[in-house]
């Protein structure tokens, strides 16, 4: 389809710590993601996946390198523009959910919309709809500490996709879901990707979830290790098998520590 990348990541490095004690979380990574792509990122625990996502989401600052979103370098953006970008263009499903514990699930989901200053009525409708899609209607009026981990994850996902953002970043979105919920959720992501043409970048340890993506990038020690592209005629099952191969090659197994 289109060839202009929505996201360009070039020579990105991210170090944590001070002079004495440096952790190289991301060690020179370069990749492009085109508009409408569904890309998975896999890698062992601590390999720097979350760090990359945070850098793209402008939550974290780069040590060096550059990231362009729609040909605009995000390293040049001001704090306020970054915030605007995050709330308008980006949906982020955090690894540890990051639900606001003083708000109900409904309010958590709505929050993503209210900060866009959309009319309250529309917000209500959208929240109901996304909750139905993810099967959490019953938990809408509960507080995060009153619902299960899987429900929290879906609530967090609902919050990320309710704004129908251009770019969805998902960090282990199915990590806390049972296989049935995971399937439903991945089908939702696929729907967003195929029917609404949303670009998705998803980190996962779960080979099954990864098989929904069109392309998988494998990361090891903060560096790109390998890339798999789903063939035009390849079934999900076949793609799944190819992913398993690489995962075994990487040395971990598919039930890596989350």
């Amino acid at each position: 389809m289109t060839t202009t990348p929505i996201l360009k990541v070039k020579n990105v490095q991210k170090y944590y710590g001070n002079d004495k004690n440096v952790t190289k979380a991301v060690h020179n990574i370069t990749f492009d993601i085109n508009e409408g792509e569904f890309v998975g990122i896999m890698g062992a625990s601590g390999s720097g996946k979350t760090t990359i996502l945070n850098c793209i989401a402008t939550i974290d600052h780069l040590t060096s390198g550059n990231i362009w979103l729609r040909e605009r370098s995000i390293t040049d953006l001001k704090e306020r523009e970054l915030a605007k970008f995050r709330r308008e263009k980006l949906g982020f499903i955090f690894q540890d959910f990051n639900l606001v514990d003083t708000l109900t699930v409904r309010e958590n989901i709505a929050l993503a919309l209210t900060i866009l200053k959309i009319s309250p009525k529309v917000i209500d409708e959208k929240v109901e709809k996304v909750a139905k899609t993810l099967g959490i209607e019953a938990t809408l009026d509960k507080f995060p500490n009153q619902i299960s981990g899987g429900q929290k994850q879906r609530a967090a996902s609902a919050r990320a996709i309710v704004t129908e953002p251009d770019l969805i970043l998902a960090d282990e979105p199915t990590g806390a879901l049972d296989s049935k919920s995971a399937r439903t959720f991945m089908e939702t992501l696929t729907f967003l990707n195929q029917d609404l043409n949303k670009t998705i970048l998803m980190v996962t340890h779960d080979t099954f979830s990864a098989s929904y993506a069109k392309r998988i990038m494998f990361i090891k020690d903060g560096k790109m290790f390998k890339e798999l592209i789903k063939g035009q005629s390849e079934t999900r099952r076949q793609f799944f098998d190819r992913i398993i191969e690489v995962v075994t090659l990487l040395g971990g197994d598919q039930h890596d520590v989350i």
Partner: protein, 713 residues
């Protein structure tokens, strides 16, 4: 080594974040120092020396009680504030413990910190207190317009020692509480920190609704009572007057019904405040749920939920804060009104002279010489009259002793002021009253019987003579103009010229017997108070052959029954303002401390909320909320959180003031004429504005501090 380093690092961080709290600690030490140096030094002594005895005892007891009360309050504040400081670092302390650090080591850290804070607060507090106490006498002179001799605050090691000892004790007890907290709490508890969740169950909803209705009922009753109270009844001023057989009036307060209903209204207020804050979180939660139009916009929903949580967690302390602030605002505002009323009551300020010296002397005593020596040599400007031979007569059997004078003496004073005085007929006695006393019941009497010896030497023939009373209303200024005797007795008898008293020898009058006074010499002078007072002060102490009689109003006795009596306008003002001056200090002390303590607790709660909500705010940023929106939310929470207690307290103190307003307006009680109600109301409003300004300062500082902590996170 390593421990003290940790302590110092921690403390520096705490000092920065909780500057407002430490500031209040320092101010508390300062206030404590100033008021203790007040109580300790010659100020009280100098006031009490001339004050009525019962007043002396009361004022001393009140001072002690107030100081004790304030002390207890401060202990609570510091324990409360400190528990916040510990709580903030529960995780850190828990980590120390899991790292294998001994409990006693952790306790040592806490102790070291508290010690450093104590030293800092005490040193800085006293450092500020010393110059401030020097300013006090200047301020009193400025605000009350009175000069109090002896009111100089000198540096006193005793007060420094007492302040140090006291706050040392406070901090020590806080330390003990700390150590007890650390050694009792489990590691797990310390690690988990605190993140209480509001549970909005159905029961909670019903409870909130019920409490809200209860609050409305309580407030309603309180407001209704303050607006409809029978004030005459309340102040016990409705007397049923009857007379006993001797003609003594018997007064009885009619009923205490209003007092009882006022007590009930106070309970309504207190219960209402508690119920209100108990219900507030539930009511807010209800609104959040129902009014999506408002809540689903920007960060409103977050702001409201944060606020709800905070109100829920702190409802009890908020209730106390609101009550404390109600008392504080009421005290400061009403105190200001009372002071003004006292000052306004000072028609004496219209006295044409700054002072009067009267000398009553035996015939062979040369009063003039002494007066010249003591006063005139000091370049006092003499003006006014010199009157000899005023005769005092005291008639017992009425409400009080009333002074009687010979006609010629009183008319001399009246002539001096160009005011005519009617001459009484031989069977008449003039009853001079100021306009304000017209209501008094003894005016109902039409006749008076005076008893005296016809012959003083033999004292054999007692004459009983009945006179008709002729009421003469005079201006108050006139009555108090020249001689102090006239100041306190606003009712004065003037005997007819035909009743010749001049031949009577001197006796001290008693028991309804007319006596001839000593030779009486009066003169007035004009000199400024700060010049005159120290001279009189010295005169009183150094007069060689006598001293002062502290139980009576500024009467200086000399030997040989010669009596010096010095009255200055300033001192009359001080004396009449005694209650006001005391009230000013007391209200400033209590009201001020209450206000500061309340505001500091609000700040601490605001701060702990931000610290506990850091993760929530971080999430907001990740969702694309910019720091401007976030700051606005923080500001909105702060405003609401500070405004709710202020609004409630202001309203309640306003209604409490309704009870006093008629007194200020001069509708109740013995208030003197010429009192400008509007002026009092204006001054009280300005005092209230000052409270709001202090409030604003604390609010802004606490916003700045919490925002900084948030930005750093």
């Amino acid at each position: 080594m390593m421990l003290s380093k940790l302590s110092i690092r921690n403390m520096r961080r705490s000092l920065r974040d909780y500057a407002l709290y430490f500031g209040t600690l320092i101010i508390s030490v300062t206030i404590f120092y100033v008021f203790n140096s007040l109580a300790n030094q010659s100020f009280l002594e100098s006031i009490l020396f001339r004050a009525p005895e019962h007043f002396t005892a009361n004022i001393e007891a009140a001072m002690t009680a107030i100081s004790a009360f304030v002390s207890v309050l401060l202990i609570f504040l510091i324990i409360y504030g400190n528990s916040f400081l510990i709580k903030r670092r529960e995780k850190e302390l828990g980590v120390y413990l899991t790292l294998g650090m001994d409990r006693t080591d952790v306790a040592k850290i806490l102790f070291g910190e508290t010690f450093l804070i104590a030293v800092l607060a005490i040193v800085v507090g006293i450092g500020l207190g010393v110059p401030l106490s020097q300013l006090m006498s200047v301020m009193i002179f400025h605000f009350l317009g009175v000069y109090i001799p002896g009111l100089t605050f000198v540096f006193s090691w005793g007060v420094v020692f007492r302040t140090t000892l006291y706050f040392g004790f406070v901090f020590l007890s806080v330390s003990i509480v700390n150590v007890a907290t650390v050694s009792r709490s489990k590691i797990l508890h310390l690690l988990s920190g605190s993140s209480k969740q509001v549970n909005f169950s159905k029961f909670f909803g019903i409870l909130s609704g019920g409490a809200f209705i209860l609050a409305l009922v309580g407030f309603g009753y309180w407001v209704f009572t303050t607006l409809t109270l029978d004030l005459d009844d309340l102040f016990g001023l409705n007397f049923d007057v009857s007379f006993t057989e001797d003609g003594l009036p018997v007064s009885e307060a009619s009923s205490s019904l209003s007092g009882a209903s006022l007590m009930l209204a106070f309970s309504g207020l207190v219960v209402g405040v508690f119920a209100f804050f108990l219900s507030l979180a539930g009511v807010l939660a209800f609104i959040v749920k129902r009014c999506k139009k408002i809540t689903f916009y920007g960060l409103n929903v977050f702001t409201l939920r944060q606020l709800t949580r905070r109100l829920h967690l702190n409802w009890l302390s908020l209730s106390f804060i609101t009550l404390m602030m109600t008392v504080s605002i009421f005290m400061l505002v009403a105190g200001r009104g009372t002071v003004l009323m006292g000052a306004n009551a000072m028609v004496y300020t219209d006295r044409p002279f700054d002072g009067t010296v009267s000398v009553r002397h035996t015939p062979n005593f040369d009063a003039l010489e002494v007066v010249d020596e003591v006063f005139l040599l000091r370049e006092f400007e003499l003006s006014g009259t010199r009157i000899d031979s005023i005769v005092d007569i005291e008639v017992q059997g009425w409400i009080d002793w009333i002074n009687g004078f010979a006609y010629e003496d009183v008319s001399a004073i009246f002539d001096f002021h160009n005011t005519p005085l009617p001459t009484p007929a031989s069977n008449e006695i003039l009853l001079l009253v100021s306009g304000l006393d017209l209501d008094d019941t003894y005016l109902l009497k039409e006749q008076i019987t005076v008893t005296y010896f016809e012959n003083w030497v033999s004292r054999d023939h007692i004459v009983e003579e009945t006179f008709d009373l002729v009421l003469v209303v005079v201006s108050e200024n006139l009555l108090v103009t020249s001689d102090q005797i006239l100041i306190f007795d606003q009712v004065v008898l003037v005997f007819p010229p035909s009743l010749d008293l001049s031949d009577m020898p001197f006796v001290h009058s008693s028991g309804g017997i007319i006596g001839r006074e000593r030779n009486h010499f009066l003169f007035d002078f004009n000199v400024e108070a700060h010049v005159a007072e120290p001279i009189f002060w010295e005169f009183a102490r150094t007069i060689p052959s006598g001293g002062w009689n502290p139980t009576e109003y500024d009467i200086f006795h000399t030997t040989n029954n010669n009596m010096f009596n010095v009255t200055t306008t300033n001192w009359i003002r001080v004396n009449s303002n005694l209650m006001s001056i005391f009230l000013t200090f007391a209200t400033l002390y209590i009201g001020g401390i209450f206000l500061l303590v309340s505001l500091t607790i609000l700040f601490l709660q605001q701060m702990i909320d931000v610290v506990e909500s850091k993760k929530r705010y971080a999430t907001l940023l990740q969702l694309g909320v910019d720091d401007q929106m976030r700051s606005r939310s923080l500001l909105a929470q702060g405003i609401a959180y500070f405004l709710i207690p202020l609004t409630l307290a202001s309203l309640h103190s306003f209604f409490a003031l309704q009870i006093l307003l008629p007194v200020f307006a001069g509708e109740i009680g013995d208030s003197p004429a010429g009192i400008d109600f509007n002026h009092i109301v204006r001054a009280m409003s300005i005092t209230f504005l000052w409270v709001v300004v202090v409030y604003l300062i604390y609010f802004i500082l606490s916003y700045v501090q919490t925002k900084r902590v948030l930005d750093r996170g």
